[in-house]
Symmetry: C2
């Protein structure tokens, strides 16, 4: 079986892996995300050691995913200044003359979950991560969603919870979804780390209210066949109940599908691949670009 | 050149046409939407007279677009009781043994605009109609968007305009987008038909506020390459200015693309095909299912 490569480029670490198209990871390394000068040589060294047929990169964003753009493959306006305008794709391309795919970290996670994870067998799923930020990737009709650019679903507008007076912390939109519901917002609103608030029910009721609104918009606009919720905040399992409760309330019977009425528990789920959704999706993206290159 | 057929099945009229894959309409008829017993024989008669190679149907919804469903091709939970659960697709299929495509009226309009209209040459656009209801179709990466079901974008939640105390009129959600911003909501809020409110600036400022919010959500979630605004309410051209103003304000520089900053006027546009977007898309859908059948 052929060996493929994956790079999950995150804000705190780069995970590199070599594995198979069935998602079996043979080798893996985790490299701290410091500066391109420090981080990238280790990434290159990994793939010098583990020869692969193709590589799939899933990167933190925003990134340029437009193949016709002169800056295709770059990380663009990230607040991580060392990585701003960094040509991630071409820095790998110039070392290895093999097919290399490039997309967002959350899009490849959606692909991983759709092909080998919780949405296995479906041609469509949404992968949402709620952590230090809120991001979502979409695998729709068998393709990673892309248009003018990649989805930026974390920044949609939401209605305020009636008891929430916290101003929000998104530097662009203040109280957009990410500004109100990502980990740092929870921490700032309640004055305590989210992980230490497990027993404060009001925290998770409010969080569920916001995430449910987001899901309502995503469902009405994209109609995914499954929704997968990952990220640190979602480790607070009690949020899921509130999400289901509020989503049902908001939709109010409008969509007559068991997925959003009687069977929500199997429609809105945790990742089937756990923390491996992204890196598995990277292997699958590598396989896809490899096949397209033939 | 081959002759294809199109049916644009609307709530007030069915338009049937025979034409070419380049969108040239050779024959056309408009039939009142009363009951299936009255309307459908006229539809069948049209295609008995005009022999076509395939037919593309775009229907008012909600409809069942899942090819694996036993009720594929049906109109489902429409408030038009005579058409509820009506098997529109199969009623045409049983008369003509040719390939027949089936989708929503707004999805085929998006296809028409993407292939031959305002988004010509792009593989992606969003077509939104603001009239007696609000609906949107999406042509994404060269395909009509579909997942669990077709998009239902008119029912997304929006934040209230600070000066709006109107309760909204969506039977499911009250003050969702359609409940606050479709034609009947404008009429009920202001006590006058929308068409007679042209000179009341506050009406269109409020309308622009709501539509801009919707566009923000659609852009962040779907990232269409062009947005086309059709429907009766959009004939009030002054709305467009408010939409652009508020969308810019809401996004607040988050997406650094000329389309949503300096060049919004060529990104958010009126239909290039005017009232023919749907019927043209029907011909294109017919051509597509014809080719798939070969």
């Amino acid at each position: 079986m052929k060996l493929f490569g994956a790079i999950e480029a995150g804000g705190t670490k780069f995970v590199c892996a070599a594995g198979t198209e069935t998602g079996e990871i043979k080798e893996r390394v985790s490299i701290a995300t410091t500066t391109p000068e420090e981080t990238m040589p280790e990434v290159i060294a990994f793939f010098n050691k583990h020869k692969v047929e193709a590589i799939g990169i899933g990167s933190f964003g925003p990134i340029d995913v437009d193949k016709n753009s002169p800056t295709y493959g770059n990380i663009t306006t990230t607040p991580k200044l060392a990585w701003r305008d960094y040509p991630l794709l071409s820095s790998v391309q110039k070392e290895f003359s093999i097919p290399i795919g490039f997309n967002t970290d959350v899009n490849i996670a959606a692909m991983g979950e759709a092909v080998l994870g919780a949405a296995k067998g479906l041609d469509s799923c949404l992968y949402i991560t709620v952590g230090t930020g809120i991001g979502a990737g979409a695998y729709i009709q068998g393709e990673l969603l892309q248009g003018l650019t990649h989805p930026e679903m974390g920044h949609i507008l939401v209605r305020r919870h009636p008891e929430d007076s916290y101003k929000g912390r998104c530097p662009y939109h203040g109280d957009c979804l990410e500004g109100l519901a990502a980990g740092p917002a929870i921490e700032e609103r309640w004055g305590t780390k989210a992980a230490e608030l497990s027993n404060n029910d009001k925290v998770w009721e409010m969080e569920g209210y916001y995430i449910a609104q987001a899901l309502m918009q995503y469902i009405l606009i994209l109609s995914p066949k499954k929704i997968i919720l990952g990220g640190g905040v979602m480790n607070q399992e009690q949020v899921l109940e509130y999400i289901n409760k509020y989503l049902k309330e908001f939709l109010n019977g409008y969509l007559e599908f068991p997925q959003v009425s009687t069977d929500m528990g199997s429609y809105i789920v945790r990742p089937g691949l756990g923390d491996n959704a992204g890196i598995t999706g990277g292997l699958l993206l590598a396989k896809r670009v490899y096949e397209e290159s033939k």
